[in-house]
Amino acid sequence: MGNYEIALCIGVVAPLFMFAVLAFFGHRIGKPTSGWVAVIGVLASLGCATYVLAGWLSATDKAALMATTGYDWVVLNLFGNEMPIEFKVKLDGLTVMMYFMVTLVSTCIFVFSIGYMAGHSDEVDGQCKFHRFFCYLSLFEFSMLGLLISSSIFFLFVFWELVGLCSYLLIGFYFDKKFASNAAMKAFITNRVGDFGFLLGLMLVFVFLQTFDLDQAAANFRHQYATGTGIFAADIDILGWHISGMGLATLMGIGLFCGAMGKSAQFPLHVWLPDAMAGPTPVSALIHAATMVAAGVYLVARVFRLLTPDAQFFIAVIGCITLTITALIAIVQVDIKKVLAYSTLSQLGYMIFGMGVGAWPAALFHLITHAFFKAMMFLGSGQVIEGCHHVQDMRKMGGLRKKMPVTCWTFFIGVLAIAGFGIPGMHIGLGGYFSKDEVLAVAYERTYNWEDRFGGHGKDDEHGAENAHSDASREDDLILRSGKVILASGQAHDEHGTEEHSADEHGAEAAHGESATHGAAAHDAGHGGHHDDPVLAGIAAQQRKIPKWMFWLPIIIAYVTPFYMMRCWWMTFMGKPRDEDVHHHAHESPLMWAPLIVLAIGTVAASYMMFRPQLGEAAVIASDAPLVVAVDGEVPDKAQHEMLGLSHDKAKDPHGALVGIVGFSWLIGMGLAVLIYRNGLELAERIKRLPLVGFIHWCLMEKLFFDHIYDTVLVKGTRSVLAGISNLFDMLVIDGIANLLGRGTVRIAEFSGNIMDTGGVDGLVDAIAESTQGASEMVRQPQTGKIRNYILFGTTGAVLVLAAIIAVVMS
């Protein structure tokens, strides 16, 4: 193991150690100190992360630094060959960036929590819960970092469940309150639904790709695609539903994505995240905004190489639906944390959508910027809630600007970042301006320029769909078509002669480095991110054109986002105080606003500095996925060509093509919010009274009835089905038997009652009673109730049986 891997491991184990310390000695360490103990742990992680990041940034040859080291945890002997389940540390650009982001954000949040939890950890059963909070946080930190460094999808799943557990524990931190424990259960159960799919996907990976290692699985996947073996040779009939190889591969991808749907709270499993706000606010910031919910996106990024075009399309659709409905719901929320929760959902939708359309680096970039500004905004809301003595209703706030200036302005930076503030044409902007708009630009390319790219293949969607379920006879056709793609992309190559040459060299290095570790299969299949790789191009040729609605919905939401965020900020901080009592008490404390400033700086830095180009590098080196698209001008040129990228000049700047569509959305959305809420809530109330608006508002207030539907269909449905079944059973079986017996008895009584009565019944009854009594007297005798006597009788019985056996055998 190299130094960097060891550093990563230390960074993972440090919070675990602190968890153990807090779990066993937390109650003795006491109230403020146990928080600092946890901070020490996470600071150690941050130190390790910084060390690794510095090493990564200064390295010239990143491919040489990339590593997957560790040992085999268990070697299974299945299907006639040995399958190791590896416990290995993965070190690549994605891990390093995510690791650094998580540790930095969580350090800020840990420090913030010390201030916040001092007033929010009342005693339950005479036990102070303060240390328990930090105990759980440390465990979460450990699991999250472990998730990031796992090279095996199996261990990824293990840590995945661990973060789910921590999420459950922390949402239900105020378990003495009914709504909190309910929310915790809801989150847990909803996640189970997603994890079930994940598990199925995992099984498919294990059975068909015969490994858990991500790189190896990707190599096997491509090899199987090229040769038409393994999962692509599958031919299964389930309940009359025929699944061909490609279909099964798609199901595998969707299964893996189901896990992401649960954790990242994507439609239809998005219902738990708003309820999860029942947890303490730092938890919402750390787990339900910055890190854990982003793990779903991270998972998709990791398994991206196993996704077929259809699976990617499915992901894009889910992301698109999520980002739309949740953003609409966010407009009407009045709880400050709920607004942030729904905006988180919407932004996660953008990330998933970006993943689905192939904007791999852009989606991850958005993940990182979003983590910073959303954590900051959540902490700001925590500061507000703390300052206003647990008031979360924005209608009671207002005018807090003067009371808590730092919170106000850091929150404003967050609003600008999520709104995508930026000035087109100049390189000035924040957060979403770069990251979200890049996702949109890729979607634009996939929608409108896709046909240019692939020589009209996108046109005949039906053909593509058929091809997705191709059987062996179609394989030749595929190769032919991919040949065309090579031609098409070859022209693109010619435009950048010299640069491409260096790119090829780089790719060759990567291929060499990886094939050395991953053996022959990878080598045969060909490696490295070239798009003149026929296999990759073959898969990529099946990529569909994105329907127009899937491009325009995110664009519309890009206008909605600034509106509701500005509304939230304005209602909270600007205008006149609406509740004197709340306003009077408002204050802020340094332990809590210092992390806000760090995160604000982080937001600005993340928008400009190292993350984006590094993710570009990661895309080049780590992802040899069939389709990774990037358009940002900041990606090094060599990366541009190696990815199946868009080499259109106009696409290089995300705002080049879209400036008219989305460039000033932030201004329009925020301006509209200011116009409406400038003078308090009156105008908004008046708008609400308009006929149609009132109805829509009601729908949105009811969260588009998802909770109602689930409650009715799933919870009540299950109950009523069970009740129906038992009712039916009662009626048919029990009642039937009872009636039958009753009627039978009556008949028999009618038929023979007279004879029995008049005959010697009395004598018989007496005889039976007397003999019963006599027998029971006899039988009662040995029932002494003394255990020793029973043993004696038992032994006597054994002797008799033995004697009988001996007698029989001897005779």
Partner: protein
């Protein structure tokens, strides 16, 4: 029978243990060098020595067991039980089941017996409390048990056991146990683990102060 005999019986227990240690090198010298080099016991023709060892162990076992039957004092019974258990452990060594022997000493003689003594101390008003049993009960028990023993012995002695002839028998090793527990016996192993956990919780629950 009485005190003196009991004392003699008690003394025999450490004697037997000492004897086993004394004979161990002799046995090793007899055996095949290559196997004894590996620390694995083999069934060499122990002959007289093995017979002596066996009779000593069996004597101690049965004598202590008989003493338990006769004793009326619970603490003394526990001490005799230690003699029985230790002698049985030695018998396991003679049967080339080293691991079982060690486990017998540790778990039974070390753990279970201590538990019994604790039980005695926690539950009796005085450790010397005696509960007399009716003579008729004693006689009935004696007759039944004698019959039982007689029949069992009859079966044991007369039965023809379908045994494999043993050439040189190699003693069991820890490796065998480890592999066995994690392969063929994994399910009972796991089941028993769960059972132990349940027992731990259950015992703690039952014995706790209200």
């Amino acid at each position: 029978m009485t005190l003196r005999l009991k004392k003699i019986l008690l003394l025999m227990t450490p004697l037997a243990i000492a004897l086993s240690f004394a004979t161990a090198p002799v046995q090793a010298a007899d055996t095949d060098l290559s196997l004894s080099d590996q620390g694995i016991q083999t069934s060499a023709d122990g002959g007289l020595l093995e017979a002596l060892m066996f009779y000593a162990c069996a004597g101690v076992t049965l004598a202590c067991g008989f003493a338990i039957c006769l004793s009326k004092n619970i603490v003394r019974m526990a001490v005799y039980l230690f003699g029985t258990l230790a002698a049985v452990a030695l018998m396991y060594f003679l049967l080339l089941a080293n691991f079982i022997g060690v486990i017998q000493l540790i778990v039974y003689a070390g753990g279970t017996l201590i538990l019994l003594i604790f039980g005695v101390m926690l539950t009796s008003k005085s450790p010397w409390a005696k509960f007399e049993v009716k003579r008729s009960e004693l006689i009935a028990a004696g007759i039944v048990c004698a019959l039982f023993a007689g029949m069992l012995l009859f079966v044991v002695v007369n039965a023809e056991w379908p045994l494999e002839t043993d050439a040189v028998v190699v003693g069991s090793s820890m490796t065998q146990f480890g592999t066995g527990l994690l392969t063929d016996y994994l399910v009972p192993f796991e089941a028993i683990s769960v059972l132990l956990l349940v027992v731990m919780i259950g015992a703690a629950y039952m014995a706790r102060q209200e």
